[in-house]
């Protein structure tokens, strides 16, 4: 159980929570499973990508989309939260990558923010997409950003994949966001000569590899997203919708 130091709205429907972790470290790309209250409804923990970890304080960003996250949003600072983690693998770009593109959709910005905080990122450009300007999170935290929104309320109107195309050659991509975006990024990487890593999200039962509720088909067979991922190399996921 960790004391909640911060739990406040970040943008419309989005929240940032920071809490004292009972684990020593987390790496960008890893996630935690948060328990929502101690009653049985909702029952399961909620997977949340770690958006920051400093001095024993873990930060997550979440969107209030359902019963569980709505309850989470009501928890006050000073109360406690039960987090299981850190879980899963992490972003691990080669040290000699010359050009790193951080591609995030909506809440998918969370692990990219964490990576950027850890690795500086003078050679990293963040491509952030969302439905509206309210869905563009943390843009001020990146050194260089390219923004797109579907309604044109921020940045260029359209999908983030449009401006990405011209930057892809020879780049190393770290991406996190909706499945449709990740598949599009995966396809574009192949087409334009980029490689990289994609962080997938999925509904999870346990988060540590035993319920088999979050499997993903890959070139190397069926994998559990929670322990074999959530980060997978580009070109390895066999996308299914």
């Amino acid at each position: 159980m960790g004391k909640i130091l911060e739990n406040r709205p970040l943008a419309r429907g989005y929240y940032r929570m920071s809490f004292e972790a009972d684990f020593a470290e987390a790496r960008p790309g890893q996630f935690v499973m948060l328990r929502v209250g101690l009653t049985h409804d909702p029952l399961l923990r909620r997977p949340m990508s770690v958006a920051g970890f400093e001095n024993g304080v873990c930060t997550v960003i979440y969107r209030s989309v359902g019963k569980g996250t709505a309850i989470l949003a009501e928890i006050r600072e000073g109360e406690t939260v039960n987090a299981l983690g850190p879980l899963g693998n992490w972003f691990d770009p080669p040290s000699d990558a010359k050009k790193i593109l951080l591609v995030g959709g909506g809440i998918g910005v969370a692990p990219l923010r964490f990576w950027h905080r850890r690795n500086g990122g003078k050679n990293a450009v963040a491509y952030i997409g969302g439905a509206t300007k309210e869905d563009i999170l943390c843009k001020e935290e990146f050194a260089q950003t390219v923004i797109t929104t579907i309604d044109g309320s921020a940045g260029t109107r359209g999908l983030i994949t449009a401006p990405l195309v011209s930057a892809l050659e020879g780049a190393y991509v770290l991406a996190c966001g909706p499945k449709g975006m990740l598949k599009a990024v995966d396809d574009l990487c192949k087409e334009y000569g980029a490689t990289g890593e994609l962080s997938l999200e999925e509904r999870m039962g346990c988060g540590f590899g035993v319920c088999l509720g979050c499997v993903v088909d890959t070139a190397a067979g069926k994998k559990r997203l929670c322990v074999d991922g959530p980060v997978f190399k580009t070109g390895s996921v066999q996308w299914q919708f």
Binding site: P42, G207, V210, L212, V216
Partner: protein, 304 residues
């Protein structure tokens, strides 16, 4: 220390708290989350002769106080279990119940023969009640005469205690409990998941790809307690109770209703250390209540 030891056939467990099949992997996934030797036993993910890939996604969804799953018995297969999983488990000091299922009577027998011969497997749990596969599984558990024949056939090749896990998706569970006993089974575990379904009203799609799955978690506990009570009154062999156990009181309910031991399932996902916690709480409870031997609690329901 109160005496928490219970017997399942020839197998003695240090306490009656067992981790349920399908919620505990192959055991070692929990090695850093609890002391495997401190729980009564654990039941492995259901094993088949050949590895199985399981069902398409989405496989799980949350429901009030529970969840529905349709994993489809994905597992590494009995060979990989023996080669890759069992050596480490053996060193952990855990009591291992190997859960298994076949598509034919021959497969059930062959698996039982293999598992019976494995050092480090202490008991077998035969799954005749999975709601999530086309063939085998539940078919074998829906006809008492056939269940008795299957149990007898498997017991012929199985010297270790044979537990048969029953389905709640029948009109009356008692004839099935009797069939296991008549077939020579050493114990019954009940209940497997209840068939359930959930719909996303926005998309009008089922929230599980295969539409119907198995409901588990605290939501099913009263049904499970009732069925365990019915089984325990029907047979003399031990009944292992499971279905929605999330607390000491839940475990006590099953024991008082007649269960010799309990299994914890879905809550392992939420609180991976729960089996050890419940075993410790059970001991503290018995000491506080001056229950010298857990045996005096089992089936102690007062109805008049």
């Amino acid at each position: 220390m109160a005496i928490l030891k219970v017997r399942i056939g020839s197998l003695e467990l240090s306490n009656p708290v067992i981790a349920a099949s399908g919620t505990f992997g192959y055991g070692m996934e929990f090695a850093e989350r609890l002391d495997l030797a401190a729980i009564g036993a654990f039941s492995t993910k259901g094993l088949s002769l050949k590895p199985r890939g399981g069902n398409p996604m989405p496989r799980i969804c949350e429901t009030p106080c529970g969840m529905i799953n349709s994993i489809g018995l994905e597992n590494v297969g009995v060979d990989a279990f023996e080669m890759d999983k069992l050596p480490a488990i053996r060193k952990s000091g855990a009591k291992v119940i190997a859960n298994f299922f076949g598509e034919t009577e021959e497969e059930y027998t062959e698996l039982a023969r293999r598992l019976d011969a494995m050092d480090g497997v202490h008991a077998l749990e035969m799954n005749v009640s999975c709601p999530n596969v086309e063939k085998g599984g539940i078919e074998f558990g829906s006809d008492p005469a056939f269940l008795e024949k299957l149990t007898a056939g498997v017991k012929k090749v199985c010297g270790k205690p044979l537990i048969v896990k029953l389905s709640p998706n029948v009109a009356d569970i008692k004839p099935f409990a009797k069939a296991v006993e008549n077939g020579g089974g050493d114990a019954i575990s009940a209940i497997n998941t209840l068939k359930g379904m959930s719909v996303d009203v926005k998309t009008r799609r089922p929230r599980i790809k295969r539409v119907i799955g198995g409901l588990s978690g605290p939501a099913i506990k009263p049904v499970a307690v009732r069925m365990v009570y019915e089984c325990a009154r029907t047979v003399k062999i031990p009944v292992i109770g499971l279905g929605g156990i999330a607390s000491l009181d839940d475990a006590l309910e099953f024991l008082i209703a007649g269960a010799t031991a309990v299994q914890v399932g879905t809550m392992n996902f939420v609180e991976p250390g729960i089996c050890q916690r419940l075993a410790e709480e059970l001991n503290a409870y018995c000491e506080k209540e001056k229950i010298a031997d857990i045996a005096s609690l089992i089936g102690s329901l007062i109805t008049e």
